[in-house]
Symmetry: C2
Subunit: 465 residues, 2 copies
């Protein structure tokens, strides 16, 4: 089946906004064709593959959609960012944040259709980036096209910022935002991701944790040695173990002085919002194959998951790792450690504190590099924009939205939210089996149509508000 | 140059035993040819390559040398061991311990001549196993041949035990020794290795440390997870770090109760023997590229190196180890740890104590497997056999032997020494650049001739003593 043959599925809640539903239907063939076109253009930031081409293609799609302004922004050694602005009535501006870069497609052998084909199969569009984040981007552009065709004019100004480094830590994102802050001014922002939960409720997310990702490295002798000299020759694997243990002991507390300083606890409104979203800790444990969480009590575990900072070893690497015994004293040992941060913590400040702590505890020999740094961000749960996105989602899907005060994950929400001082809400067209970052990444065709419909309703109500 | 063209080098101290020197000269072409023949037969225990063939070849060489008895001993799932016995006058028996198995030859690209060719280059014989341990084995057989040809009869009975699993931890060696103890009875044993130090002194070694090599393994969720759940999902890398830190902290002391129990301290005679052998700690640090040992004071460091048990992390393996950041919560973490043991410690007892300690400290979830177990052994430095080997070495090399009370390394000396209750002394024909276990393994041709000469002198004086 080619994309031209993908029939428009019946929309949920078509009667809620029949003229918008009809407009989405008219736009549908182009929306599918453009998404397939975008998926077929690889854009792997980690491998530097297709970045310029995909930025150009994204710009072209904006131009075809009637954008007033389309610009490709550039910084030295950075992937380009694509900016587009659509004229509209009223005095309000809605900003969309998306990214055109995708994760590597490897391992290729685990895909059931080629990752860069954009195949249609079993009611799904399959391909690398179709869910993260080309589908949500195209759903938003299609909504803009549908509304322009229907009303002649958009009900508000609309801006798009589409970056190309999200999958590699948005390394230049804050510089782009800083440089183009005035061009980005808006009243609210729809963030890149989101979707439908297993009970069919649209999921909105208002915040992301920050991140301080470091690599620790210890050195011993200049080459691996026979382990018999372990009696007297420094062992970098032991140095690393001891340094890590100093940072966090078996009680799970981070021992770095000041690590927890300034943390903003969740507000009563945030706690209340969390309680409103169902959570099944027993099913989570079953899915993970674990007997218990590391935090006692399911309520406390949920609070830690959403509102607590973390310190996680992501990798350990030293010496001999093959089968059987090899008596070697390693020359080097490395650990990858990520700290997920919450509002009130600054990744550069945390990095300095960990460094000072290691020095003070006698681990000056353990080197530390900062690999990724992001600050946490949370939009207030009682912001009127949150209510608006939730109300329009319920209108489009027929079920109340589930509002997540924050994700446990991280992302570059802070630079934009902080610089512009606006609410940020994530809403998209994925679902629980979208397999972002994994083989057979996909979105359901019905969710894609539904996502366009929701965005059209939102744009219209946002302009009216 | 083929092996047939390798001229016999001039022996040191030819005048010390001119008839033996002449006998070695007569035996030389065969001694070189047999060593090359043995090197050309791969026998990699770790890969199961050529083991049966090499055992058969070793047996054939014994038969050609006139052994009274040649047997190939077998155990289920074990590499065969070769036993040979030569008739001789007098009532004393000398036992030689060697092994016919070798380390893998990889990485092949780092060899300057093919590892299984047995090439002659720059006064050296080059090939896998030529130093460890086929050269020493053939030097001993050549000495037996030379003496038999010269005197008509050996001055003592001579036995050879040549195992095939030394390079994989001598896994069945104690079973072989137990099963054939009565056949192995002897008055003294020459151990497998040894050579010449950088100042031309022959080096003898009287003992080896023991070994308890374990693998620790911790498990978390059933698959790697996004690290955002690190707030509440058990992290096996942290469990491993904490368990390791419990076993040994930054003070370097092993915290396992009973770990140091029963350790036999070195005797005054052993300490005195150590002091007689020069040691250059500053050069050792320079060679290793380290600023300091982990033990303060060079004397204390030397004592720890020779007489102290160790606990060394040989490998760490968990999660993401590639370049850059990857936010993953690992499903599994592994560490390889070796404990070098000294007389008075038992590897199985140590294993049980570490297990009990981990359980008691709350690390029952950290699995532990025993990968290798050996007990330490030391021959008393004042044993008359030690004096005899040292005196004959000085006679053959013209420089006093340097007697090492023990190596910092491990090996299966205990099963044989303990079962037979006899002194064991290591003396061979390697040198400081023999590159055992490494590419371009080699022995100097002059050392090979000298090793035959020394063994001939030793056999004659042992029979006379």
């Amino acid at each position: 089946m080619t994309s031209a043959d993908v029939p428009m599925p019946k929309l949920l809640q078509e009667d809620a906004a029949p003229d918008l539903a009809a407009a989405v239907r008219r736009e549908w063939p182009q929306a599918v064709a453009d998404l397939v076109r975008l998926v077929r253009q690889p854009s792997v930031a980690a491998q530097g593959v297709g970045m310029e081409e995909c930025a150009q293609l994204t710009a072209a799609i904006f131009r075809e959609a009637g954008a007033e302004t389309v610009e490709i922004w550039r910084l030295p050694d950075a992937a380009p960012a694509v900016f587009a602005e659509f004229a509209g009535g009223g005095d309000r501006t809605l900003l969309f944040y998306n990214h055109y870069d995708v994760q590597p497609a490897e391992p290729l052998e685990l895909w059931s259709t080629p990752p860069w084909e954009g195949a249609v199969r079993d009611g799904r569009l399959v391909g690398r980036g179709v869910s993260d984040d080309k589908g949500p981007l195209m759903a938003r552009i299609a909504a803009v096209r549908a509304l322009r065709r229907l009303r002649g004019e958009l009900p508000c100004r609309v801006k798009f910022l589409v970056e190309g480094e999200e999958e590699i830590g948005s390394v230049h994102f804050d510089t782009y935002v800083e440089a183009y802050k005035d061009r980005l001014r808006a009243d609210a922002c729809i963030w890149e991701f989101g979707g439908i939960d297993q009970e069919g409720h649209p999921e909105l997310t208002l915040g992301l944790k920050g991140l301080c990702y470091v690599e620790l490295e210890a050195h011993g002798a200049k080459r691996d040695q026979h382990s018999s000299v372990g009696a007297i020759v420094p062992n970098p694997a032991w140095r690393l173990v001891w340094a890590l243990n100093a940072i966090k002991g078996p009680d799970g507390r981070v021992n770095v002085p000041g690590f927890y300083d300034g943390i903003q606890p969740p507000t009563e409104a945030e706690r209340e919002a969390v309680r409103r979203v169902p959570w099944n800790p027993e099913r989570m444990r079953q899915n993970l194959g674990i007997a218990a969480f590391t935090v006692e009590g399911d309520d406390a575990a949920r609070e830690a998951l959403l509102f607590g900072p973390t310190c996680t070893i992501c990798g350990l690497d030293s010496g001999y790792q093959g089968p059987g015994p090899k008596t070697v004293l390693p020359a080097v040992a490395r650990a990858k450690v990520d700290f997920r941060l919450v509002p009130g913590q600054d990744p550069h400040d945390i990095f300095r504190k960990v460094r000072a702590f290691l020095d003070e505890r006698g681990f000056g020999d353990v080197q530390m590099k900062l690999l990724s740094a992001e600050k946490a961000y949370r939009t207030p749960v009682d912001d009127p924009f949150v209510q608006l996105v939730a109300a329009t989602a319920e209108k489009a899907y027929g079920k109340p939205a589930r509002v997540h005060v924050t994700s446990a994950g991280s992302g570059p929400m802070y630079p934009l939210g902080h610089a512009l001082g606006i609410p940020m809400v994530s809403a998209g067209c994925g679902y629980w089996d979208s397999r972002a970052h994994a083989p057979d990444e996909n979105i359901r065709i019905s969710d894609y149509a539904q996502g366009i419909y929701h965005m059209a309703i939102l744009l219209e109500e946002f302009g009216r508000a």
